[in-house]
């Protein structure tokens, strides 16, 4: 049953063998049984990247708590391990009990990024199933997928049997019931179980839909049967308090990313940043009760032995009463506990918060202004003014931080070179602020190329070309080069282009993904394995235009490849927000201001769950309400006077 005796013979010859051994704290070694559905939950990237994934861990626990399911985990084997496995005839296996993938009923992937799509195909192939869904027999694995990328499922539609949109906590049990009944009845007809799965709310079965094209244009995606929904609606857990998962976060034996206790403090975000898919598709805001956060932190620390906690969300400083929660968190461990807040809005980062989190070990600090100029931030609806950023930076330097990272996007709609260069100006001013507190302040600008995503107001925007992104990156690099204290890192614009192909691609892109995979193009999100030419050549070979898929502006009457799935958001709301963006008009945060009916709450009869009726104190708070008397400055001069620092126009 276990492949371990064979695996331990190859492990001495591969890099980082600990990623294949399992044995994590919190691991389950479930008892398989013919009456239970066996799930192999797979993350299509390395163990180090995939192990901390909270979505996968939540489903792992929920399924293993059921008496009609078992769940184990698999991760994409690194290239050296894959070569050993293929040479020795070893299939994809679970790390929990080292069972072969074929011993499971469902192989379910978490899709967090488009560049892992070729790894998905590789894992299906290693699992021993045909990669194309249409070629699978009744007894073959059912291939499922969830995660943010499923909001455009079409590029993987030919390979995945069913997608799940939105929160999986409730849907996974409903899917399990369907598969359980099918399994107990002898797995007679694959077609029948897929039809049944399509009736589960939130489940999209692509093989049950016809796709029509007119030349390059997509005309329609329509269900072939009356009981299959024309539009698949996402699932939303109404109250996070009902789902205090993971209860037993996995504690790996080897180093992974985010190697700390992670506690999700809220889900959803209504700041309304127009580039941000996560903020659009996870609405509304559902805060976890502060008391539950404290309990999960205390239990998690005691169980795991970690001395670092991340309070996770899309914008943790917005959590009601965040300073009290951070303070309580730091006091609940046996020794020093450090707290990291991975997504920090600068306008909510106060001196108090800075003081709290630096009490124990000082963790890295990253702020995401996203754009350099006020005008650009109005376009993307990230309405933080320079004073907010400088206030946050000042707070951090005054509390002893010496380095921080600022995250920006380039290639945004309407972006001019002036906007790009404003990034350098902001970074320089931040370093100047730091000089009052430390001898060698350091600010790293991290620049990513903007890739438009489905279900955002920017879904109609034509992505910048590789050469245009490269030009902007070098423009900023040359501008920053001379400044001591400012460093710059950037994302490969070629990788952004390939991400763009899959981000808004239709079902025809599947052929491209398959071809790149067949040529050995796995681990495309790893720069040492990324192969741009393979992608452009595969596009050309299949007669598909990169320009048409990636760089073309869409019109409001165009059928989008994801029109038959829904995140609740009205398409006309998104279109209006797109027009507002071009007119540099901001939109308020509906958590604290009246509803503008984007559709995410009204469509599903749910509401925000937010403890505080008002935004956190200080700053402009990105509510769309520019502070009284604030004149957007052409350039902000930073004056240093004693220990205090002011920004003024």
């Amino acid at each position: 049953m276990s492949l371990w005796p064979e695996l331990e013979l190859v492990l001495p010859d591969v890099s980082k063998p600990a990623r294949y051994i399992g044995g994590e704290g919190g691991m389950v070694e479930p008892e398989h049984h013919p009456s239970k559905v066996a799930w192999l939950l797979a993350y299509p990237d390395t163990y180090e990247i995939g192990l901390p994934n909270q979505g996968l861990q939540i489903l792992y626990e929920i399924l293993n708590e059921r008496d009609d399911a078992v769940a184990e985990r698999a991760y994409a084997p690194w290239v050296d391990m894959e070569a050993e496995m293929r040479a020795a005839g070893l299939p994809l296996f679970s790390v929990d009990t080292h069972r072969r993938a074929a011993d499971f009923d469902v192989l379910a992937f978490n899709l967090s990024a488009e560049l892992v799509y070729t790894n998905v195909l590789n894992c299906i192939d290693l699992a021993g199933a045909p990669v194309r869904a249409e070629q699978r027999a009744d007894g073959d694995l059912l291939i499922g997928a969830g995660g943010h990328c499923t909001y455009n499922p079409e590029p993987l539609a030919d390979f995945v049997d069913f997608f799940v949109l939105g929160d999986g906590e409730e849907a996974v049990s409903e899917i399990n019931a369907v598969v359980r009944d099918w399994k107990r009845a002898g797995k007679k007809s694959r077609q029948a179980v897929l039809r049944e799965l399509a009736t589960v709310e939130g489940v999209y079965v692509p093989s049950l839909y016809d796709v029509a094209y007119d030349g390059p244009a997509l005309v329609s995606i329509t269900p072939r049967f009356a009981d299959v929904p024309a539009v698949v609606e996402k699932r939303t857990v109404a109250d996070l308090a009902a789902w205090p998962y993971p209860k037993h976060q996995l504690v790996p034996l080897t180093e992974v990313v985010h190697d700390r206790l992670n506690v999700e403090v809220f889900r959803g975000c209504t700041r309304g940043c127009r580039f941000c898919q996560a903020g659009m598709i996870t609405r509304p805001v559902r805060e976890r009760p502060a008391e539950q956060v404290r309990t999960m932190v205390a239990d998690g620390l005691a169980r795991s032995g970690y001395d670092e906690v991340a309070l996770t969300s899309l914008s943790t400083a917005d959590f009601s009463g965040i300073e009290e929660v951070v303070s309580a968190t730091m006091d609940c461990g046996a020794g020093e506990v450090s707290v990291s807040l991975p997504s920090l809005r600068v306008d909510a980062f106060t001196v108090g918060l800075a003081a709290q989190i630096q009490r124990a070990r000082r963790t890295g600090l990253t702020f995401a202004p996203e754009a350099g100029s006020w005008r650009m931030r109005q376009v993307i609806n990230k309405l933080i003014d320079e004073r907010d950023l400088y206030g946050a930076v000042e707070s951090a330097f005054s509390q002893g931080w010496r380095r921080m990272k600022l995250y920006f996007l380039t290639g945004l709609p309407t972006e001019t070179d002036e906007d790009t260069l404003a990034i350098g100006e902001l970074a320089r001013n931040c370093v100047d602020l730091g000089r009052a507190h430390t001898k060698n302040p350091s600010v790293t600008v991290s620049l990513g190329g903007f890739v438009p995503k489905p279900f955002t107001p920017f879904q109609w925007f034509g992505q910048n070309t590789v050469s245009e992104l490269q030009r902007k990156i070098f423009l900023l690099r040359d501008d920053i080069k001379r400044n001591r204290g400012v460093q710059m890192k950037w994302h490969d614009p070629k990788a952004s282009m390939v991400e763009g192909i899959a981000s808004r691609g239709d079902r025809r892109i599947g052929r491209v993904i398959e071809e790149v995979w067949r040529q050995g193009g796995t681990f495309q999100e790893w720069s040492e394995h990324f192969d741009y030419d393979r992608w452009t050549q595969a596009m050309a070979r299949h007669g598909l235009s990169v320009d048409w898929y990636v760089h073309r502006h869409r019109t409001d009457d165009e059928v989008l490849p994801w029109d038959h799935v829904s995140a609740g958001l009205h398409k006309d709301f998104l279109w209006q927000d797109w027009r507002d963006a071009l007119n540099e008009v901001g939109l308020e945060d509906c958590r604290w201001t009246p509803c503008y009916d984007c559709g995410a709450c009204t469509g599903y009869s749910i509401e925000h769950i937010v403890a505080s009726a008002v935004p956190p104190a200080g700053g402009s708070q990105g509510t769309g309400q520019v502070p009284a008397g604030y004149q957007p400055p052409a350039a902000v001069a930073v004056q240093l006077s004693g220990s205090g620092t002011k920004a003024s126009s």
């Binding site: 013979l9 492990l11 980082k16 063998p17 051994i21 504690v251 180093e255 795991s304 020794g335 000082r362």
Partner: protein
């Protein structure tokens, strides 16, 4: 800092590393120990500074993939006394599968560190598809060799060493289901000779499928002592656990 104001007790622990967890690295083990000790709630001393860490002093690194019955670790506690039994009992609850603490002793102040003090290690090596007779001939060859040259890279430079003086003992062990055992004692000073270097230098014709460190030794005044027997604090002559 004045050492008088902070009472310290250093405890030396012996532990095994067996099974799947043998594929974790030395660095992974350090993290596992830090987390495990935190879970015990015992008062482990911390380093000073912005990034406080538990004061742990590890012995010789064990290569990733090797098992061991005899790993050692010195832990500083911020208290004047610490009962070894209490530490061992607390660890039983928190150590992951495959890691088991099997003994400990309180060290006298000034006891030499493990890295400096250990002089040799015993190794039990399972060789795949080997026969006892063939292995015996190979053992004789190695023992008779005047030199066993190995070349290794250090800081980008090729360095050649003679391993022969480091091979303290070598003999054929019991047969196993997969092959036969080779028992070796390799010196660790001035630098630790590794089983993999012995295999390379002697062109071992078999695949070592399982390598296990069975003992570490400290040679002191002509006697070979187990690291738990060295430098035990006379006031609290605590030595717990046996092989």
């Amino acid at each position: 800092m004045n050492p008088n104001e902070a009472p310290r007790t250093r405890v030396r622990l012996r532990y095994g590393k067996n099974g799947r967890i043998r594929f974790t690295s030395h660095r992974d083990m350090a993290r596992i120990w830090e987390r495990s000790l935190r879970r015990t709630g015992l008062p482990v001393a911390q380093t000073e500074g912005f990034s406080p860490r538990a004061k742990l002093h590890f012995g010789l690194a064990l290569a990733t993939g090797y098992e061991s019955d005899a790993e050692y670790l010195d832990v500083d506690f911020k208290c004047a006394e610490m009962a070894v039994n209490e530490v061992l009992d607390a660890l039983v609850r928190v150590l992951p599968d495959g890691i088991a603490a099997s003994g400990g002793s309180v060290l006298a102040p000034g006891t030499m560190s493990l890295q400096q003090a250990v002089t040799s290690c015993d190794w039990d090596i399972e060789l795949l598809d080997a026969s006892a007779d063939d292995l015996a001939r190979w053992v004789d060859q190695v023992r008779g060799a005047a030199t066993l040259m190995i070349t290794r890279e250090r800081k980008g430079k090729q360095i050649t060493d003679d391993l022969a003086p480091q091979v303290c003992a070598l003999e054929v062990g019991e047969p196993t289901s997969r092959g036969v055992r080779l028992l070796a004692t390799l010196g660790t000073q001035p630098r630790s000779a590794r089983p993999s270097e012995l295999f390379a230098a002697s062109e071992l014709p078999y695949l070592p499928v399982l390598v296990r460190r069975t003992r570490q030794w400290i040679e002191q005044d002509g006697a070979r002592l187990e690291p738990l027997e060295v430098g035990a604090a006379p006031a609290q002559h605590t030595l717990v656990g046996v092989h």
